[in-house]
């Protein structure tokens, strides 16, 4: 077919031809509808659309990615979220503040303790009460143990994403030890629901402290072992270096938080910038990097684990004796022994359980903590009833996933999994 045909001639000739190819058919349709531009967007119109997820081994749960590919290179990426959406923000409006605590376990299910703490801190701000010294120290430790557990899962699964299968089991062994400690501390290994408004469900026993000390003593050599297996490997470095770059400006404007932001060269950490709990009295560093690639994010998280061990040791030293529940009878659940033996406590228990804590009308509170994935914020508005008028959860995984298309630019199929792994998303939190 010659090139210097007019449009009408082209249409006629193509229509007359006994067999036309698919691309000719497309051109024909485009010419007939006079809308040429719509059909020729992108490169050469021969991209492959690949659907990754929601059931895919490397998408960390139910993240779906629609990737357009040119050979093995990624041209565009669209993350599709919402497969794990359970409507927690709406659920919260129909239950008392205490009833929502178990639901926070299911947000970032790799660090449920940090979610518990973040949520009650926001509600306590709403109620204008504060936990006791001892409770605050224990909560600080909870946050750090959660960070350690979460980072260990991340390290294993990211190594597995790039193909190093053994590290996964090694880090999970360590995480298992943390879960054993949580078992003693909270009574459950996983869905802890440990915090209460104005205090904690249980006190930290001496056995728990001893187990934690024993764990910390053996943890660093074990971590070094796992690091040696992957960090000294040229293949691992090559797979991570320069992959998934995001500029500092993009990272800030997309709202990245946590290790992902710190790896882009922004030393932003709520534990330092806006200290909550006891972080003001603790001595630790915030690791940052400037390369902003998968490897930088890896190193930031690994170094954070060392800082977390440091923090936990200091906490164990400084943990004071004392009560764990604030003596505010109107807002804090009384001790069970007293409920069964004293009239007043029974009434308070009845009121809090049945009608909920009652903040003042029109009060709003936002409290964010530095969770393992980034800034985890709870924003609650009260209209004076036992339920929140509105509860907004600012989940770090959700915003971090927003950076995925930017990081994917110029990546290859194998990089997709490495980048997802380096962002460390947890879909329970991203979808809420």
């Amino acid at each position: 077919m010659s090139l210097d045909l007019t449009k009408e001639e082209y249409i006629q000739e193509t229509k007359d031809a006994s067999h036309i190819s698919m691309s000719q058919e497309k051109i024909l349709r485009a010419l007939e509808s006079d809308d040429v531009r719509g059909h020729f967007e992108g490169t050469l119109d021969n991209q492959l659309i690949l659907n990754m997820g929601p059931q895919h081994p490397a998408t960390h749960g139910v993240l779906q990615l629609v990737v357009s590919l040119d050979g093995e290179s990624v041209v565009g990426t669209i993350p599709v979220l919402g497969y794990l959406h359970r409507g927690y923000e709406k659920l919260a409006e129909n239950m008392t503040f205490h009833e929502f605590i178990p639901h926070t376990d299911r947000l970032d299910y790799l660090s449920p303790l940090a979610n518990n703490v973040g949520y009650v801190l926001a509600i306590e701000k709403l109620l204008k009460i504060e936990a006791t010294e001892r409770a605050q120290w224990i909560r600080t430790m909870c946050c750090e143990m959660a960070r350690l557990a979460s980072h260990l899962v991340w390290m294993g699964s990211m190594a597995m994403d790039v193909g190093a299968l053994t590290v996964f089991l090694w880090t999970f062994t360590e995480r298992e030890k943390i879960l054993d400690i949580l078992d003693i501390l909270t009574g459950v290994r996983f869905t802890t629901s440990y915090t209460r408004i104005g205090g904690l469900a249980l006190d930290m026993s001496d056995e728990c402290k001893a187990r934690l000390v024993a764990f910390l003593d053996q943890f660093i050599p074990k971590l070094e072992n796992a690091r040696n297996l992957i960090e000294r490997n040229k293949i691992f470095i090559n797979r991570c270096e320069g992959v998934g770059y995001i500029s500092k400006e993009d990272a800030i404007s997309l709202g990245l938080t946590g290790p992902n932001l710190r790896a882009a060269g922004v030393g932003n950490d709520l534990r330092i910038d806006d200290p909550y709990l006891k972080y003001r009295e603790l001595d630790f560093n915030v690791p940052t990097a400037t390369e902003s690639d998968v490897l930088a994010r890896y190193y930031v998280r690994v170094r954070e684990m060392y800082e977390t061990v440091k923090i936990l040791r200091q906490c164990l030293q400084k943990l004071p004796e004392g009560p764990i529940n604030t003596p505010d009878a109107k807002q804090v659940l009384p001790d069970k022994g007293e409920v069964y033996s004293k009239m007043e406590e029974l009434i308070h228990d009845f009121m809090i359980v049945n009608f909920g804590n009652t903040p003042e009308k029109g009060v709003e509170a936002y409290q964010a903590i530095e969770a393992a994935k980034g800034e985890l914020g709870f924003y609650a508005i009260s209209d004076g009833k036992g339920y929140p008028f509105r509860l907004k959860i600012r989940s770090p995984s959700f915003t971090n996933l927003g950076a995925l298309p930017t990081m994917m630019k110029g990546a290859m199929i194998s990089d997709i999994v490495a980048i997802i792994g380096s962002i460390d998303p947890v879909m329970g939190e991203a979808d809420k």
């Binding site: 690949l50 081994p57 790039v162 193909g163 053994t166 996964f168 490997n233 199929i413």
Partner: protein
């Protein structure tokens, strides 16, 4: 004449049985070694210490439903696993697993057949192997499988080149393409591992790539391609791919042992003055030990190393291994002509 035929049939049957049983135990070894490396137990329920696990798995797979995707190209979809297993099982025909053995007054060569172009036969068959994987990826009509198939064909073609060139060094030293001659040449300390260290490394790396083992397991890469070329296979067809993968691994080990580790040669065995029968048996056992070590090495590497990326794999193949293997040929050729 009939006796010769009978001997061949017995040899073929024995070798195939041994190969298939060792495939089952290679799978078992992989699971136990990986479990050991990862602080787990691994299979330890079926039979003593789980020794019958692989057979239980095969029986399970036989009884599974065979699912073929609606849009798959059915004849090719069925043919592909057959090609894979065929290639994996026939390559071993030219590998000598011992020198000779005297039974009932007959001297029997411990090799199915001594083809005088043995190396070419191996290279030709491994090139055929890529068809199994590429066709399975294409005929499944799934994008993931297609990627697996394309990756494997590109990978195998790139690595076959350096694999073939690295063997040229050995051919120059030995002056023969027959595997039995190559083994006979490696008597005493003169293993090709010592004479051809660079060629050995190139051949070893290329065999990892040829057998699709980690760190070159891109065609199946679970985190990326969810199993790659065999994503859409189930039941016995999947089992055939699985068997072929491990059979390939064992055959690759036998070829490496034959070409570089002296095959069945036990250094200075003649000087011990043992009866000929004991010598023959010891040689076969030596060969088995070398192969077992190499299989362990394959497993060891898989559970230690991450996976390459596609472009890095190609870079390694074309920009590093190919020039090095050519360099190896040139150096070997010069040394051989100077020393002779």
């Amino acid at each position: 004449m009939w006796i010769e035929l009978l001997i061949s049939v017995i040899k073929i049957a024995t070798v195939l049985t041994v190969l298939l049983v060792s495939v089952a135990y290679a799978v078992y070894a992989e699971r136990r070694v990986s479990a050991f490396m990862q602080n787990r137990y691994g299979p330890n329920r079926v039979g003593y210490q789980g020794l019958l696990q692989s057979f239980a798995d095969v029986i399970k797979l036989v009884f599974k439903e065979d699912i073929v995707p609606v849009k798959a190209n059915k004849p090719i979809h069925t043919l592909a696993p057959m090609i894979s297993i065929f290639v994996a099982l026939t390559t071993i025909a030219v590998v000598p697993f011992g020198h000779t053995i005297e039974l009932f007054g007959r001297i029997i060569s411990l090799q199915i057949t001594d083809v005088n172009v043995g190396i070419l036969y191996i290279l030709a068959l491994t090139s055929l192997g890529v068809y199994g994987i590429t066709l399975s990826g294409w005929s499944s009509n799934s994008k993931y499988s297609l990627f697996g198939g394309i990756r494997s064909s590109a990978q195998m073609i790139s690595y076959e080149l350096s694999m073939g060139l690295s063997v040229v060094g050995i051919i120059l030293i030995t002056g023969s393409l027959s595997l039995q001659d190559i083994v006979l040449h490696q008597n005493g300390w003169k293993w090709n591992l010592v004479l051809q260290p660079l060629g050995f490394i190139i051949f070893l790396v290329a065999s990892f790539a040829e057998t699709n083992r980690s760190p070159f397991d891109l065609p199946e890469a679970e985190p990326e391609l969810v199993g790659g070329y065999h994503t859409e296979y189930s039941s016995m067809k999947f089992a055939l791919f699985f068997l072929a993968e491990y059979a390939n691994m064992i055959v690759a080990s036998t070829v490496i042992a034959t070409l570089y580790l002296g095959g069945w040669q036990f250094p200075y065995l003649q000087s011990f003055g043992l009866p000929p029968m004991a010598v023959s048996i010891l040689q076969v056992l030596t060969f088995c030990a070398k192969v077992a070590f190499l299989v362990f090495f394959f497993i060891w590497v898989r559970w230690s190393l991450p996976r390459f990326r596609y472009d890095q794999l190609m870079n390694l193949g074309w920009k590093v291994m190919l020039p090095l293997s050519i360099l190896n040929i040139i150096v070997t050729a010069i040394l051989v002509s100077v020393l002779k």
